[in-house]
């Protein structure tokens, strides 16, 4: 029985008992009073009648008349006159009558007054004795009426006190409910704090739980910070803050390979610092570090102000060696403008340290997915050499990109047509589990064709443009609908995972459509996994939080993909109640040999497990990598090394 039921029952019982008690006491005292009054009446009336008859002549007719006259006013049960030997002279008796009161009531509370006695004398002689008993039906009637009206009042009072008790309990229920919700959330590894209730006991409980949640949060954050440091040390250049050579190439190779996830083309820039050794010698180590930081900052600022949102979010910057810095901008097309701007910005920002000498040389190239990183770098290298040879400063294009461009208006038309005509489908890439469940779900990237019966195009081909044209929400809804339909149609279908873009989350119509979609598919949405990339989730954190809240009532799984770079902010994610993380392929690359990343990922898995998240590795390319993952604590994996069914 729940706490509230028990409290309610206790209140009801105690109210009932106290009311019953007072009712019984009051009835008993009323009965006693009525009985006493009847005894007095019996005595008085017997005496009065005896006194009257004593004074009169004693013929039987007169006596009978007196007795009858008194008896016939109806208030008597018995009037009996006996002679001194006990023989009845006159007797008047009416059957016992309990009046309005029901029989059970008179049995329960009998009124039994003693009869009245008085002596009649005739001169000096004894004439007889009077015995007189009053009717008790009036007393019963009175008692019964009292009992019923009291029952009525007590019922009313009981109802009112019950209502008040219910109000008080309801007041208690809300804060208690919050505490219980918090406890439940903690069980689900969501560590949220609640407002402390006013009720002192609950306040203490809430305070204790809030404190515990706070400690856990701090603990996770400290652990996350420690791992973040490890990660940076392994993967980043400490002076510029850019990725190191190995990490950059690992990520860039992913860009070139992962046809479903990234833009199918983009720009690659290579910057070379001119004569760094001389600068180092001239400025000293400290100022050289400052020089490099200003340089790094100028590069970042130029990208921020020139590249589109998609390219900004997905950009890669790496310091390949002491002098070379590479910049990859997926989906970006205006490399020449950016390179010029970058050169100008760097030159002016570093003028005070460079004495007007040339600081950097920049070459750039458009790349396409499927190309190799090595040859691209080679072309850029040659272009830098050409600049140096020519003695110019102007950035140089390394080699022309191949493909013909499509304009924005054409794109918008093509995307619109594809969505309208349903030229969309999902493909299924298996995500295998290392535990009992062999197939966790299928990752379902969207495919689109631009003409009827045309070739199916990968997401990398249309997604950058859709992002720029703000059409991702429609695509995401279409993808989720396709997945939901498949789940509804086939109960044996594996779980399906659909990727949502950050731009969609910000769209209120999108979130409304998602809620409707989930409501329509509530029965099987427990087999639906929805994921948002790490960069999208953090760039649109409020929108993501609102989106998560929207889907709280549904059983679908929510996760973050391409996770890892923002690992230190895992603390921000923990109270969102997520279910899984997919760790970006750049961390998985060569994991079997990368001891630094192994330590990082092992720690990441531990923390994630602590807050109840599944951890899945992305972009697993080789069987050796796959074999390493369970040892680090991963729950599952996906990538080219996983055979498709």
């Amino acid at each position: 029985m729940s706490l509230f039921r028990q409290l309610m029952l206790a209140v009801a019982l105690s109210t009932l008992l106290s009311f019953m008690g007072s009712a019984v006491v009051s009835l008993l005292s009323s009965r006693h009073y009525l009985e006493q009054q009847l005894i007095l009446k019996n005595e008085d009336n017997a005496s009065a009648l005896a006194l009257l008859i004593t004074q009169q002549s004693k013929d039987p007719v007169t006596i009978e008349l007196y007795v009858a006259a008194l008896f016939d006013n109806g208030h008597y049960e018995l009037i009996l006159v006996r002679d001194p030997k006990g023989k009845a002279i006159v007797e008047r008796q009416s059957p016992p009558d309990t009046g309005d009161a029901p029989a059970w009531f008179t049995r329960l509370l009998p009124i039994k007054p003693t009869p009245g006695h008085a002596q009649i004398s005739d001169g000096w002689k004894q004439y007889g004795t009077i015995e007189l008993r009053s009717q008790s039906k009036f007393a019963y009637g009175e008692l019964w009426q009292g009992a019923t009206s009291m029952a009525g009042w007590l019922l009313l009072a009981g109802a009112i006190s019950g209502w008040i008790a219910a109000m008080i309990l309801r007041r208690l229920r809300e804060p208690l409910g919050r505490v219980v919700d918090q406890a439940r959330a903690i069980c689900e590894r969501r560590f949220s704090t609640i407002e402390e209730p006013k009720v002192p006991e609950l306040k203490q409980l809430a305070f204790a739980m809030n404190t515990m949640v706070g400690r856990l949060k701090t603990m996770f954050e400290e652990e996350a910070a420690r791992l973040e440091a490890v990660r940076r040390e392994v993967n980043y250049d400490l002076v510029s803050g850019f990725a190191n050579r190995m990490f950059f190439f690992s990520q860039f190779s992913n860009l070139l390979n992962k046809s479903d996830e990234s833009a199918h083309h983009g720009s690659l820039l290579l910057l070379r610092i001119v004569d760094l050794a001389a600068i180092n010698k001239r400025l000293g180590r400290v100022d050289t570090d400052k020089f490099l930081k200003i340089l790094a900052n100028s590069i970042e600022t130029s990208i921020e102000s020139h590249a589109g949102r998609y390219a900004r979010d997905k950009r890669l910057i790496g310091r390949l060696n002491g002098t070379d810095i590479a910049v990859a901008l997926p989906g970006y097309e205006d490399a020449e403008v950016l390179a010029n701007e970058m050169l100008q910005s760097i030159t002016s920002n570093l003028s005070h340290l460079s004495d007007g000498a040339t600081v950097v040389r920049i070459s750039f190239i458009d790349y396409l997915q499927g190309q190799e990183a090595g040859p691209l770098m080679g072309q850029l290298d040659r272009a830098l050499a050409e600049i140096e040879a020519s003695g110019e400063e102007k950035p140089r294009r390394a080699a022309a990109g191949g493909e013909q461009r499509t304009t924005s208006a054409q794109w918008a038309q093509q995307l619109g047509m594809a969505i309208e005509n349903g030229w969309l489908r999902l493909v299924g890439l298996p995500v295998v589990g290392f535990g009992n469940k062999k197939l966790l779900h299928q990752e379902c990237p969207l495919r689109m064709r631009f003409v009827e019966e045309g070739e199916w195009q990968t997401a990398g081909k249309f997604l950058p443009m859709a992002t720029r044209l703000q059409m991702t929400a429609d695509l995401d809804i279409a993808a989720v609908r396709l997945a939901a339909n498949q789940l509804a149609a086939d109960p044996n279908s594996p779980d399906l995972a659909v990727n949502l873009s950050g731009e969609s989350l910000q769209s209120e119509p999108f979130r409304k459509k998602m809620r409707e979609l989930m409501q329509g598919n509530a029965a099987h949405c427990n087999r639906l996994w929805l994921e948002v990339s790490e960069s999208s989730a953090f760039a649109n954190l409020d929108a993501f939080r609102a989106f998560r809240k929207d889907l709280m009532g549904f059983k679908c799984h929510i996760g973050i993909e391409h996770f890892g770079r923002e690992f230190s902010r895992i603390g921000v994610l923990h109270d969102l109640g997520l279910h899984y993380l997919k760790v970006d392929g750049s961390f998985i690359n060569d994991i079997d040999t990368q001891s630094g990343n192994q330590a990082f990922l092992e720690g990441l898995c531990q923390i994630a497990h602590n807050i109840g998240l599944l951890v899945i590795a992305e972009g697993v390319k080789r069987p050796e990598e796959l074999a390493m993952l369970p040892k680090l604590g991963f729950d599952g994996a996906t990538g080219p090394a996983i055979p498709r069914e």
Binding site: Q36, I39, L40, E43, S47, A50, L51, T54, D83, P84, K85, G86, T114, P115, G116, H117, A118, Q119, S121, G123, W124, K125, Q126, T129, E131
Partner: protein
Amino acid sequence: MLSFSLANAVGFDANKLLKTITQRYGAPSEQKFRDWQKLSADMEKIDDQDQQIKKVNDFWNRRLQFMEDKEAWGESDYWATPMESLGHGKGDCEDFAIAKYFTLLSAGMDVSQLRLIYVKAKMGGAASNITQAHMVLAYYSDPEAEPQILDNLLGDIRPASRRQDLTPVFSFNSQGIWGGVSASGSAGSTSTKRLSRWEELLARAHTEGFE
């Protein structure tokens, strides 16, 4: 009649009565109580009821000094129990009649043979014009017989026909009441205030030790 006499039989708890009287009237009253107890004991040896009433009449007429209630008790009309009268040694006509009534009842006389009677008394003889409210005890050798009158105004007991100075008005006894009074336990538990003067007296007598 046998059933009546059983239901209305009056006995007493001698220790309780003694305790009551000595507590209230001190050590000297113990002798008075012993005398009364002896009277009761003697009476049981006498079969003749006429002898009995004479003994009782004489005992009380000698023991009690007549005095108005106002003087004796400080109240205008106070009905004293037998033990109060015995201890106090003073009383008016009711106190005489009541004391004789209880003594006779406790000696085993049936309640139907005794009645307390309000009478109108002509003071100084049948020819007198001065009348006074008075109370006497009437004894009926047989329920229908002419009663003998036990009175404090005269030393001897006379039949009613020889008491031309008294006119009976109303009579009563404890028949039908005593049982109720003694059954209701000590007088304190029921509210004596609501009982008649007679019933209140009966209740007090019951507390003193009459059963």
